[in-house]
């Protein structure tokens, strides 16, 4: 059945962007029950009207007591306690919940930015105003934000600036397994790496102090099993926010050639101090008591070392950069040194300079891909694997890969797209990437956020006809727009399908600029997708409801053969968006512990 708001869009004349803007305003500003077919409009209005206040996870009774928090929650709590004035982020597993937590529990500003670069730059702005700010993202998000990162390290910051980056070893929900510690080293900024939720909170606070002491942004690196693991955290007092001090400082705020070399020298001169701070902080500590074997345990590696190697000496690494002598002294006299670190053999490489008995990912004892977990450790280190894993049942079991939810609008669109059969379909990052799997197998490539449109243009430029790009609404806003402009400018012949499901569905249905609601559940500015595409100069913009497969197929068939860049917006809200938005208001479970049981 064709929904009411679908009709509004189909009947709307596609003439100039002002018209689209007006039409799009109807989307939310008209009587919601009439313009929105689902409960979505009602829910958005309810949230805007009542806000998220009244649903904090922390209250006065919990002060100085323990509650259960995930690593992400704990970073959020740490940032609030450190006296932030702004939190920014773009959703990405496993970092999403840092901002979610702050948005729910902090009375000040917290925003879903349009992408990670913008999130980080906005946070830099707050720092320039003398305030403390945290910017959080997943590991690949830092690729997007790496441009401002490399140069802000030269210039330096004003108010404390913490960059919380969550890596995804094992790539449970990512396109790669990159190790963010290299970025910290690359930018020459300090990096703290917690091993559980309590440390995540404590180190967030320390990171702000360090940031202001050194004038550098500080990275906080977590991994999936920190970000999405829950453990007790003691709630502390909230520090007062910094006063607003926006001072012009051209020598340290303007990255022009005449300033660069001096700024670079300043950054180099800070390095010794960074190592010294690390030593004084005690974050890297040696637990050695005459053992013959040792473990260098980075971040979460520490809890594995405590669990599986109680008879080993441990060097706990939670801070980078450190002076090599830390490693040199630890490995001295040890017959065997294991390095437990998630990601690349970052510390192992250093350790190998000081001992020939280092075992890890370079030496080949520990598998160099995937996640470091109990099973990898106990299978790699014979002494720790006393209890071998049991054999799996002999018969192979049917796999259960992730799939699109029942009723998913993307699946309906793919039904239509399959009928049309493009020569090649360049995909992007989001739920719709699942179109690579059976029964669809209609998406032929997936690389990174926003790459679909550009790759499609590159393919079409080689003379291939009927090339399509598939991109979600939020991914389009994130980094698809420049690609669309480029395709128009350079006269590519492609069909661009924007799948507008009114949410960033994959990461938990965060709101987008198209829905007119922000991270805090307040009314935000609204962007018209049609107007935006039209103003990029595309040949045509069509809107279709993917549930109407017949009509969608007809539009796709026509536009796939058309010349130039043609946009088809497939619009229907994610089936879970209302429920997930309702969750923004839901009270969370936060018991406080009466007292710890005697041990």
């Amino acid at each position: 059945m064709v929904s009411v708001y679908f009709q509004i869009f189909l009947q709307s004349p596609l003439e100039d962007s002002e018209d689209y803007k007006n039409d799009h305003n109807l989307f939310l500003k008209g009587p919601v029950s009439q313009t929105f077919p689902s409960k979505l409009g009602i829910m958005i209005n309810r949230i805007i009207k009542n806000g998220l206040k009244g649903y904090p996870q922390v209250n006065e009774n919990q002060m100085n007591k323990e509650i259960i928090l995930s690593g992400d929650d704990a970073i959020g709590r740490g940032a609030i306690e450190a006296g932030i004035s702004l939190a920014t982020s773009y959703p990405g597993t496993p970092a999403t919940e840092i901002l979610t937590y702050i948005a729910r529990n902090f009375s000040g500003d917290a925003e879903w930015s349009v992408n990670e670069k913008i999130a980080f730059e906005t946070a830099i702005g707050a720092s320039y105003a003398g305030k403390r700010a945290i910017c959080s993202m997943k590991h690949v998000g830092l690729n997007v934000a790496s441009d401002p990162l490399m140069t802000i390290a030269y210039l330096g910051i004003k108010g404390g600036l913490v960059l919380a980056v969550a890596d995804d070893p094992g790539a449970y929900s990512s396109q790669n397994e990159q190790d963010s510690r290299f970025y910290a080293k690359f930018a020459k900024i300090p990096c703290l790496e917690p091993s559980d939720s309590q440390e995540a909170k404590d180190m967030t606070i320390m990171a702000f102090d360090l940031s202001e002491k050194t004038g550098l942004p500080v990275m906080l690196r977590t991994v999936t099993r920190i970000s999405h693991a829950y453990s007790p955290v003691e709630i502390g007092e909230v520090r007062e926010q910094n006063p607003l001090v926006l001072k012009k400082d051209p020598a340290n705020m303007i990255a022009v050639p005449s300033n660069v070399l001096r700024c670079h020298r300043n950054l180099n001169e800070k390095q010794e101090g960074l190592r010294q701070w690390g030593e004084d902080s005690g974050l890297n500590k040696t637990l050695k008591n005459g053992q013959k074997k040792g473990i260098i345990a980075c971040g979460i590696g520490y809890v594995y070392a405590r669990e599986y190697g109680p008879e080993y000496a441990i060097l706990k690494i939670s801070y980078y950069p450190f002076a090599d002598k830390l490693i040199e002294e630890f490995v001295k006299g040890l017959e065997e040194v294991w390095v437990l670190e998630e990601g690349e053999p970052f510390v192992e490489e250093i350790a190998r300079r000081y001992s020939s008995r280092v075992k890890g990912k370079i030496s080949g004892e520990i598998i160099a891909i995937g996640e470091l977990g109990p099973d990898v450790i106990t299978q790699s280190i014979p002494e720790m694997g006393k209890s071998r894993k049991r054999d799996k049942p002999s018969k192979p079991l049917p796999p259960r890969p992730p799939s699109m939810c029942p009723g998913c609008p993307h699946s309906k669109l793919y039904d239509a797209l399959k009928l049309v059969a493009p020569a090649f379909t360049a995909g992007d990052i989001g739920c719709y990437t699942l179109g690579v799997n059976p029964p669809y197998q209609i998406v032929d490539t997936c690389l990174c956020m926003g790459a679909g449109i550009s790759k499609a243009a590159g393919i079409a430029k080689q003379g291939v006809k009927r090339v399509a790009a598939v991109i979600g609404d939020s991914t389009f806003l994130h980094s698809g727009i420049p690609a669309l402009i480029n395709a128009v400018y350079n006269k590519a012949n492609i069909l661009v399908l924007i799948l507008d499901n009114s949410a960033i569905a994959m990461t938990g249905n965060q709101p987008t600029p198209l829905t007119g609601i922000n991270a805090k559940g307040e009314e935000g500015g609204k962007i018209s997708l049609e107007g935006l595409c039209k103003s990029c100069g595309v040949n045509s913009v069509e809107v279709t409801d993917p549930y109407d497969v017949e009509k969608t197929e007809a539009i796709l068939r026509e536009k796939l053969d058309a010349e130039g860049v043609n946009v088809v917006i497939s619009r229907r809200p994610c089936v879970f968006v209302t429920r997930r938005l309702a969750k923004m208001r839901r009270k969370s479970i936060t018991h406080i512990r009466p007292e710890k049981k005697a041990q």
């Binding site: 323990e66 259960i68 597993t93 496993p94 999403t96 449970y172 929900s173 990512s174 559980d196 999936t224 099993r225 999405h228 693991a229 829950y230 453990s231 007790p232 979460i300 809890v303 594995y304 405590r306 669990e307 599986y308 977990g373 109990p374 099973d375 106990t378 209890s387 071998r388 894993k389 049991r390 054999d391 799996k392 049942p393 018969k395 192979p396 079991l397 049917p398 796999p399 259960r400 890969p401 992730p402 799939s403 699109m404 939810c405 739920c431 990437t433 699942l434 799997n437 029964p439 994959m506 990461t507 009270k587 479970i589 018991h591 512990r593 009466p594 007292e595 710890k596 049981k597 041990q599």
Partner: protein, 195 residues
Amino acid sequence: MGTINILFSGVGGQGIILASKILTQCAFVSGYMVKESELHGMAQRGGSVTSHVRFGEEAYSPLIQKGKADFLIALEELEGLRYADYLKPDGYVILNQKRVMPSALNTALTPYPEDVKSQLEATGFHVDAVNAFEIANNLGNPKLDNIIIMGMLSRYLPFTIATWEMVIKESVPAKTIELNLSAFKVGRELIKGKA
């Protein structure tokens, strides 16, 4: 007491995360060190879902080592079998006799396994099998099956009924508190006298 390792397995949407959060909070308010680990995002879209809960005087790793789980709480049969290698040799399984067919099941190559309960028992595990879905349906809401299972699990764990009830009350929507508490009791009765 050492560390108790409990692995939840099932399919996205079955209430695994809620069940493991209830357990985590019970362990926490009872004074234990507790760690829980779960996955979000792409990993969970209609796919196989697990949650690890470890508690005791100490618990360092948020993940359970294969062959070390004391309990496997399987909300779905296939997912119970899939993660059975996490159990220690004499481990306990609470098996919800419910089948959710994988979306792209190749019945010729990998058919849905038969006799999951007896397969698990043949491996030496202690299996409490229950059709919690049916019981939940009779109670008035099929989604209560995870709470029925928690009622069964409660027989084996050192938390008071008051603790369980307090945590459940605060974990479920206000309108469904009574229903959830009765589901918990029904589950608890299922194991009566066994533990």
